[in-house]
Assembly symmetry: C2
Homo-oligomer: 406 residues x 2
Amino acid sequence: MSLIVQKYGGTSVGDVERIQGVARRILGYRKAGHDVAVVVSAMSGETNRLVSMGETISDGQADPREMDVLTASGEQVTIALLSLALKAQGQRAKSYLADQIGIHTDSAHGRARIRHIDTDKLRSDLEMGTVPVVAGFQGVNDIGEITTLGRGGSDTSAVALAAALNADECEICTDVDGVYTADPRVVEAARRLSVVTFEEMLELASLGSKVLHPRSVEYAGRYGVPLRVVSTFEEGEGTLITIESEDMEQPLVSGIAHARDEAKITVSGVPDIPGIASKILGPVGRANVEVDMIVQNTGADGLTDFTFTVTRGDYDRTIRLLRDVATEISAREISGDNEIAKVSIVGVGMRSHAGVATRMFDCLASENINIQMISTSEIKISVVVAEKYLELAVRALHSEFDLDEE
Amino acid sequence: MSLIVQKYGGTSVGDVERIQGVARRILGYRKAGHDVAVVVSAMSGETNRLVSMGETISDGQADPREMDVLTASGEQVTIALLSLALKAQGQRAKSYLADQIGIHTDSAHGRARIRHIDTDKLRSDLEMGTVPVVAGFQGVNDIGEITTLGRGGSDTSAVALAAALNADECEICTDVDGVYTADPRVVEAARRLSVVTFEEMLELASLGSKVLHPRSVEYAGRYGVPLRVVSTFEEGEGTLITIESEDMEQPLVSGIAHARDEAKITVSGVPDIPGIASKILGPVGRANVEVDMIVQNTGADGLTDFTFTVTRGDYDRTIRLLRDVATEISAREISGDNEIAKVSIVGVGMRSHAGVATRMFDCLASENINIQMISTSEIKISVVVAEKYLELAVRALHSEFDLDEE
């Protein structure tokens, strides 16, 4: 008998029939003798609908506190519906909002971080054979306000709950049956990986592989929560996300990730003096804009060009934000491009093999794809290319690194 | 400068444009120097949508605790949207869920009663010039669970809030511009009343005049909260609901109310012994079914027929409930009719005038409308008739008691 935390995403709870299906799936685990705690997202499309209403009504200058109150209502609906479905199938169940259970976060509305989860109520439910159904994505701050964890935050809620309960496994139940070597919608020959390391998964997730939210993977790695991505709709083992071990067979490249909704911003003609990076990125960070890749080129004239990428949704806001900064630091120009994409190769095997980068760049060059930015880490190499080349780049690299299905 | 509590119903906050209109209306009051606290309902149709999903998913046996979690999400959406709209128009505002503000209720899920409202946060907001936007319809019980007050509960929330804040007036902002002598959709000649007494309003509301929830009127009367029904969409004085005073001119009949969604149930052939009424109605009350009219006829054979009315939505459940009871008390039969309607004449003037009942019955007889049940109180007379006669009965009585617009 194990304790399993299961998270069901928006597609899995997209309508009444699917929620009844999820209830049956949970019942299967209960009948097999497992204890189950559940975390759910809002019904698919619901969060977008709420965000869109909120933004329309506030002319794009939406107050973050109120946006959290608004969007958190989506999960409230699904915890109630799933609890009702479980009860209708004879299974004891109880819904919990974040503040009812005590999912304590900081006060960064829209991007809150979980600090602590109270487990008393959950443990007593589990002992009674009750399935607690917890609202993902949301938390409560010190003064009792609703916070949300940002997009994909339900994954983080589930992993944090699994860590707090010391669960045997955290299952992310979704509409795909595991983690693939690339997005199967882009690469037909993509294969499901039966095992992937936390590190690889982290890179695959943060680089746009849509299966898991990066923060949840990071969290799972830190607290050693075994994480499994499985399909809600089909039987199967899915992909287990493990801690790297010595004797693991390590492929050179495990997968090709991509991120489509990227934008790059260049502040050019900046005096090349210490502290200039923080003068530029300070205000951006304080505005809660997440910066991804950063590149700085020093020119011969004592001036430098400073380029970084943000998600496309933050593009206009960041450009506006930088106007004042540019004047202050006497920059020559702010330019940008929001039709770019990021493509990355990821693999723990890269650590012990040289020449992977060259092979990647050669492959792209042979397809006439120009590389605009490069960023590397121990187990990944990312490049920024024009968005129109995205599919071609991913497919070429998938084949180059022998990932195509036989 | 006054303190006004305003309640906006589902139609008033039915879409983004209407919510922006409500924000402008509130701004008008602020500019005129008033303090305003707001209570809102869910967007029109939303509560029905949620209830229908909840009932579908639980095969009609919905758990009341979870139904409250589900339906309370509707008001969460509107408090956030209205706060966002107010802020976008430059007005400080803050949304509050029932548990955030402290709207404490008992634990009768779906029909909870307000026990106490904390006003600290609200008062400090009002002092700062902030408009607090409070979720109607919902409350929180002693163990932190969400409760709801039942249909129309937002009116009660508003009145309770006005009482707790000792507000100068509670405005019920709705899609009609006041209380009418009858439903204008049924009686073309119906007139708006500029003043109506709490008692009349209570009878008009509980008898199906859809403007206000009866519990809110009762509450307003008990705590002396001046209540005004006004239109959200048009300028106007609306109808003031007052405490009866000696020198008021009292019309014989102030209005004709009707209730369409009624059903009657008869338990026949019951032994005519003490305690039989409570044996029948006890289980019904414990199942939270509200019983309205009750009539008992004693026959010559020591047996009696016991008839009562419930809302149509409770009809099937009540019939099921009574099967066991009927066996226990050796009743001959349970029968019922869910195609009935209730029509009532209401007026404080009835107190001092005899012959009103006769005039009512004569009027209905002259239209060939059969009266199935009769119930009277100091200021109203109600009759149950077949639903198909409803409109005819209301129009005939409206004319009979000189209420038609000249």
